[in-house]
Symmetry: C2
Subunit: 73 residues, 2 copies
C-alpha cells in the first residue's frame, strides 16, 4: 500500500535500555541492508519501517519487523 | 520560552555511525539525568532537547547540548 509504514512502540524502564535496544536493531538493520526510522525517548523506542524505493511496504519490511520483534527486551 | 526545543541534526555516512553517536548521547544524557528525544534514520540523527517540567528550555538543555556537540563524530 503506497505510503504505508509498519510502526511499533517498545517500552523500557529507562533511557539506557532503549539505547541498547536501538543498538540491536541497528545490527539487524545492517544485516538486512534495510534501515528503519527510530524515535528514542526516555522509556520508549518507536520503530517505523517502509521501503522508500517502493513508496510503501515490501517483504523487506515484514522480514525486518519479525527480526526486531524477536529481540530479547 | 514555553514549548521551545533545541534541535540539531547530525549527519553520518551510514546507519551504524548514527547508532554509535546515539550510544554516546545516551551516556551523556544518563550522566546529566536529562534525556533528549532522538530521531535516527540512515545517515542522520536529530537531537531535540527541552525541559518538560518547565514546558520549555532551561540551563539543563543548554548544558547537555554543549556536551553533545563535543562528541567526536
Amino acid at each position: 500500500m503506497g505510503g504505508s509504514s509498519l510502526v511499533k512502540v517498545f517500552k523500557f524502564d529507562n533511557f539506557r535500555s532503549g539505547v541498547r535496544f536501538v543498538v540491536k536493531v541497528g545490527k539487524l538493520a545492517d544485516g538486512a541492508n534495510h534501515h528503519p526510522e527510530v524515535k528514542l525517548s526516555w522509556g520508549k523506542v518507536e520503530i517505523s519501517l517502509t521501503t522508500h524505493e517502493q513508496l510503501g511496504l515490501t517483504q523487506k519490511d515484514f522480514n525486518l519487523a519479525k527480526e526486531i520483534e524477536r529481540i530479547q527486551l
